[in-house]
Symmetry: C2
Amino acid sequence: MAISAKMKNFVANGSMIRKMFEEGARLKALYGAEKVFDFSLGNPNVPPPDVFKTTLKAVVEADEPDLHSYMPNAGLPAARAAIAARLRAEQNVDVQAENVVVSCGAAGALNIVFKALLEPGDEVLVSAPYFVEYRFIADNHGGVLKVVPTKADFSLDLLALEAAMGPKTKIVLINTPNNPTGKIYSAESLKALAAAMKRRGREYDRSIYLVSDEPYRKLAYDGAEVASPLANCDDSIVVTSYSKELSLPGERIGFAAVNPAAEDAKDIVAALSLANRILGFVNAPSLMQKVIARLIDQEGQDRGLPACVDVSIYQRKRDILAHGLRAAGYEFFMPEGAFYLFPKIPVPEDEKFLDLLKEENILVVPGSGFGAPGYFRIAYCVDDATILGALPGFTRVIEKAKTLSKA
Amino acid sequence: MAISAKMKNFVANGSMIRKMFEEGARLKALYGAEKVFDFSLGNPNVPPPDVFKTTLKAVVEADEPDLHSYMPNAGLPAARAAIAARLRAEQNVDVQAENVVVSCGAAGALNIVFKALLEPGDEVLVSAPYFVEYRFIADNHGGVLKVVPTKADFSLDLLALEAAMGPKTKIVLINTPNNPTGKIYSAESLKALAAAMKRRGREYDRSIYLVSDEPYRKLAYDGAEVASPLANCDDSIVVTSYSKELSLPGERIGFAAVNPAAEDAKDIVAALSLANRILGFVNAPSLMQKVIARLIDQEGQDRGLPACVDVSIYQRKRDILAHGLRAAGYEFFMPEGAFYLFPKIPVPEDEKFLDLLKEENILVVPGSGFGAPGYFRIAYCVDDATILGALPGFTRVIEKAKTLSKA
């Protein structure tokens, strides 16, 4: 056998979303793209903001001699400084350039953080529903993902989390605003979580680090504030990307920022830089780093135009979808951020329900892929027409499902 | 302790080149940049070719809707097709788009290949002198680097390599043209290596894969041909990057290509794609993939202008340096490619010699960093002035070292 047994197993079983892709491609070929309602992937459909486009053009035109050159593994000093300024302004925490490592997106940042922190067998605690890749990323570096359900409203179950922290717990991983639920964790819950981590850390004589994966931070609705894990927990690391806020998922640009108040903050940054190199990222793409450095001024403010996609577009999409689903009788918590809606499957048979959706050419991801069977995820970062076109199908399916389920 | 014990050790000890950087920065601050002769890093100083620059501008100007979007983990179909066409033309092997995974540089490609192939404890066989990062990359994925010296002229020691292949050997890793020696491996030696791998593979009932790391393929001098590992070994995978041939080391763009004749070629590509995702690369940067796709036509030829840096510049630098070092009495094999020269340290005491170079503000990397004590590496991808300015120092040091050594 060529590939390792573990990878063989991953390839065979870890392809839930890939299967959705393929199913989508098959259906689109069969019925035409406009007849297929593909809500499977979190691929932003809102264009990057104008200020990004003009800055990219300006940087390419200027063609400075070191535009495409090697740099320190932690990133361009100007990019690190801009990111630190942004975090100081945004989260009211005294982050400096030296606390920042520019990364290949949030997935790259998570990999270097786990590589830096985890001993073999160490546990990463996460609340379900959770982003499916976390399990792979923990496993990449010898870690084990340990899953604790959230409360029914998708808020953190603090007692359950504290009870799950054991002598092997090294990281508590949160994702706020959450994929797939759209939940934002309150400042109070973050403070309480930090206190629980301290208590259990003392008990086991080790530091437990809070890792906050927050690529949807700027995608919050109805004026909701996204509480800062950095501001509420000393031993904390933020990982994020520009994929969603600037609609650049293909460019792989993001960062990890270590709380300057964290234990061994300096060692962690050194390890993150080394991990960036030896895991093969070497550094985040240089051209994008130059652009990022120019988008933010020294006070951490966007220069001129907002360096963010138009969030009101996503909020409108959420509202159209939520309104239609409620009218059809679906139950869900209104997402506070991100671009996912995570309704309950209205019957006990998940697969039967998902098959009915597929018969309507509606593609979603089953909640079981997020450690939450009984739910399904709708990624609503799609054209309004796709949302509007799918609502009659969603309505027919809930009625059909209830009839079938009773039969 | 925050970071893992292994990473703590890596950070403390794995920083030979970082120490050189810091020493370089210190010396430049002290004496002025023009008085310091920094040959420590393989950071190309020849600008990217014009055709790259104009294509990048054109792609940014065109601003297609999916320019920065997600894509399949293996890469943009157009980029995979262009890379396959290039390999067919360049190496006379029937590579198709489906055999190619676009990667974040060669370091990214090596990581996904090792992740895909290695079982815990599997061995990666490499010839010394070798690029120091290989050890980390093997270790990232549970592998163990096993080192076999080359012959005195830096050609492959085929008997020693075959003798070193055991029941745990999964990969034989070569780097041609070689960093740090500049050696190019002959077609005959590759054929013989492939035969040895087959023999030993049969003996242990497993396939051994040849992984060829070849980012310097286009940097070959005096018309030297770089034999194709793909053409000479069925179970083979090429990993490479555009960092050197297009002078883009900061952009992290390269690829892995699996020989279509390899056992389980299709499985390997599926595993590489998955590894690209879960290791956090997700996909190679999209903008650069669009550019790469446009540089090559369907016959695998450069469109119009050469899509490669001006190699004659590096050849001239090599010649100036080689001429000067020979005149001073240094012994070395003339590099056939890449941009490194790897002379013998002329006295038995490596450190004493390197200290003398440092006294002349000449920064090089000790051969011990490449598994080859008794040598040192000069990266001559620097201004001519740096080479010319350093030659008197090199001359003084060899005389001083011989005097001191006799004393």
